[in-house]
Amino acid sequence: MGEALVEAAGLLFAWGPILGFLVVLPVALLSGLIPGGGLPTAVVILGFAWTLDPLVAATMVVFSMAASDITEPVPSILLGIPGSRTAQATILDGYPLAQQGKAGLALGASYTCTLIGGLIGAAALLIALPMARHLLQYFGAAEFFLLALMGIFAVGVVSQGAMVKGLLTSTFGIGIATIGYTPVGNVVRADMGLTYLWEGINLTPIIVGLFALPELIDLVASDTRVSKKAGSTLLKESRSQVYEGMLLAIRKHKLLLLRSSLIGTFVGAMPGLGGSAGHWISYASAQATEKGAKETFGRGDIRGVIAADSANNSSDGGVLIPTVIFGIPGSPGMAILLAILIIGGTSPGPSMVTDKLPFTMALVLTLTIANIVVVPIMLFAAPFVLKLASIRPAVLAPPAIALVTLAAYSSNFRTADLLVAAGFMVLGIFMKAYGWPRPPILIAIVLTPILEQYMNIATNAYGWSMIQRPQFLIILGIMVVAFVYSAKMQRGAGSTQETRSEPVDVA
C-alpha cells in the first residue's frame, strides 16, 4: 500500500494532472457557487475523455466534484438558495444564521466541516482498499453480475415518493443500453432500421441532453442569481466571524463533526444513494440525538450546518468506494467517472485494488488535495469568486451550451449525436418537469454492458448453479436488507425534509 501511495503521488504530481486541476479549479469553484446547480464540467470532460490520459480525465472529474462540494453551501448560507441538491439541508440552519447576522459563523463552520469531512471520506476510501482486496478474492462473475444489478436498481428503489418512476427509468435505461451490436450472440439489437444505431447510442449526447441542457435551461428561465452587491456585503461583514465558526466546529462540536462525516461516508458508500441523501440523513440523525436539537434545528443552530456539511463532503470518498471497487456508481457524477474509466480501458473491479492500485490511490490523493487547496481559497478569495457567480445566467449559459454541444459531437464525430442530444433534451425537460428521476437512466446505461458481460460469463462458468454459491446468496441477502434499510432511512429523512423545508419565496 505504501509503495502504491508513493507511486500514486508520482503519477499525480506530473504536468498532465496538474494542468487538469488548474483548468478545472476555477470552473468548479464557480459551478458550486451558482445557485441551483452548476456548470456541466464533468460532461465536458467526458467529451474529451477519449483524447485524455485516463488518469488525467478521472482525477479532473474527482477534483471538480470535490471542489464544487466545498463551495456549494455558500449560496445556501448567504442567500437561502442551494448551490446544488446536496447543499439543501445547509439552508435550514445556515440561512437563518445569516439572517441573524452570523453568516461568518456558518461559513467558518461549513469550511471546517467540509475540509475535515472530505479528509475523513478520503481516509475511509484508503482504509476500504486493502479490505476490498481480500473481499474481492471471493467474488466471481456471478457476484459482480448481482452487484451491477443492485447498482442499476438501487437508485430507483430508494427514490422515496418516486419508487415506481425510479424503477421504470432504470428499466428504460437498460433498454436504451441494449441498442446496437453485441458480441454476445453476434447480433444487432433494436436498430430500428438505422445504421447509426449499430454502434449503439453514445453516452455523451445522452448526458448532454438529459442533464446538462435541461439544467442550463432551468438556470436561464428561472434567472436565479446572486446579487453582486448583497453577496459581497454579506461576505465582508462576516469575515471576522469565520475563524470563530471554524474554532466552534473543531472544539465544541468535534464529536458531531466526526459522527456526521462517518454517516456521510457510509451513506455515500451505499450503492444508489450517492451523496445527495447523506446530508439529509446526517441532519436527521443530529436532530434526533443532539441535546435540545428538536427545538432549535431550523432556527439557526450551528449544529445543523455542521451535521449537513460534514456529511456532504465526506460522501465524496464514500461514493468512490462502490464506484471504483465494485463498479457501482452512486450518483450521476460517479456514473460519468465510471464511463471515463471504461473509455480509458480501466475496468472497475478487482484490478483497481491490485495492479491498478496506484491509479485508485491517485483518486484518493485527488480528494485530499482538492479539500486542502479549495478551503483556503474560499477563506481568502470568496468575495472575488462570489462576484463571478453574480454573472447573469443569460450570459453564463450560452457559452456553456456551446461547450456541451461541442462535447456531444466530439465524443464520436457524428452529427446524428446532436439529434440524439436534442431528443434526450426533450425527454430530460419532460422528466425534470414531471418529477421523474433522471439519474437511474444514466446509471443503467453505464452498468448494463457490465451486467450483460458478467451474466454471460457467469452462466457459461456456473450455469444456474451460481445461485447456490454462498457468496451469491450473501450478497443477495445484503441487497434485500440494504434496500429495505435504505427505504426506511429515506422515509425518515424525507419526513424531516418535508416538515422543515418550506418554500423559499425570493421574489
Partner: protein, 204 residues
C-alpha cells in the same frame, strides 16, 4: 424556519426573480388545468416508453437467447410498471408532491410569462445554432450563434459579444482542430471558415 421571512432578505440579495420552490398560490381552476396538462404530458411520455418496450420485446424474438435475456427482462419489468403508472396518472385528482433523492424539478417563480419567454429564447438559440451547424459548419455557427444571442438576449454589448465570438472560435480551432484533430461534417450550404482559413488551420 426563522420568523424573519426570507422573502425580504432574498429579494434584496437576488437580481432575478427565481424562486427556490413554489410561488404565488394557484386558484382551484388553475390547479385543475395544470393537473390536466401534466397528466396529458406524462401520458405522452409513458406512451413513448411503452412503444419502445413493445418494439424491444418484439424485436428480441429474433435474437439468440444470450442476447435477448436482459432486454426481455427489462421489458417484462418495465411494461407492468408503465401500466401501473398510467393507471395512477389517469386516476389522480391532485398533482402529487414529488420528492426525489438525486434530482430536482424546474424552479418556478411568480413571473411565469417571463420565465416562458426566457425558456423559448434559449430554445430558439439552440435551434439557431443547430441549424447553423448543419448549413455552415461548427466553426461559423457555434461562435456566431452564441455571440448573436448574447448581444440580443444577454444584452452584453457589441464589444463583449465580439470578444466571445473570438474566444469561442479560438477554442474550437486550438482545442478541437489542433489538439484533438477533430473530424468535421461537410456543411449543407458552404463552410465560410474553411474557405477563408482552412489552409492556415491545417498548417498549425
Amino acid at each position: 424556519m426563522s420568523d424573519s421571512s426570507p422573502q425580504v432578505a432574498g429579494s434584496e440579495a437576488l437580481g432575478g426573480t427565481g424562486t427556490a420552490t413554489g410561488g404565488v398560490p394557484e386558484s382551484q381552476e388553475e390547479q385543475v388545468r395544470r393537473r390536466r396538462i401534466e397528466s396529458a404530458g406524462e401520458a405522452v411520455l409513458l406512451g413513448l416508453v411503452t412503444a419502445f418496450f413493445v418494439y424491444l420485446g418484439i424485436d428480441s424474438l429474433g435474437w439468440p437467447l444470450s442476447a435477448a435475456l436482459i432486454p426481455r427482462l427489462a421489458v417484462l419489468v418495465g411494461l407492468p410498471l408503465v401500466g401501473y403508472r398510467l393507471f395512477v396518472v389517469m386516476r389522480r385528482t391532485v398533482a402529487p408532491p414529488t420528492r426525489m433523492i438525486m434530482d430536482t424539478g424546474f424552479r418556478s417563480g411568480d413571473d411565469p410569462a417571463n420565465e416562458a419567454k426566457r425558456f423559448f429564447w434559449l430554445i430558439a438559440y439552440m435551434a439557431l445554432m443547430s441549424t447553423g451547424i448543419v448549413l455552415f459548419g461548427f466553426h461559423t455557427a457555434v461562435p456566431l450563434a452564441t455571440a448573436v444571442f448574447m448581444y440580443y438576449f444577454g444584452k452584453v454589448g457589441l464589444f463583449r459579444s465580439a470578444l466571445l465570438f473570438v474566444l469561442l472560435l479560438s477554442l474550437v480551432v486550438l482545442v478541437y482542430d489542433v489538439f484533438i484533430s477533430a473530424r468535421w461534417p461537410q456543411p449543407l450550404l458552404f463552410d465560410p471558415f474553411n474557405a477563408l482559413f482552412g489552409e492556415f488551420v491545417r498548417s498549425l
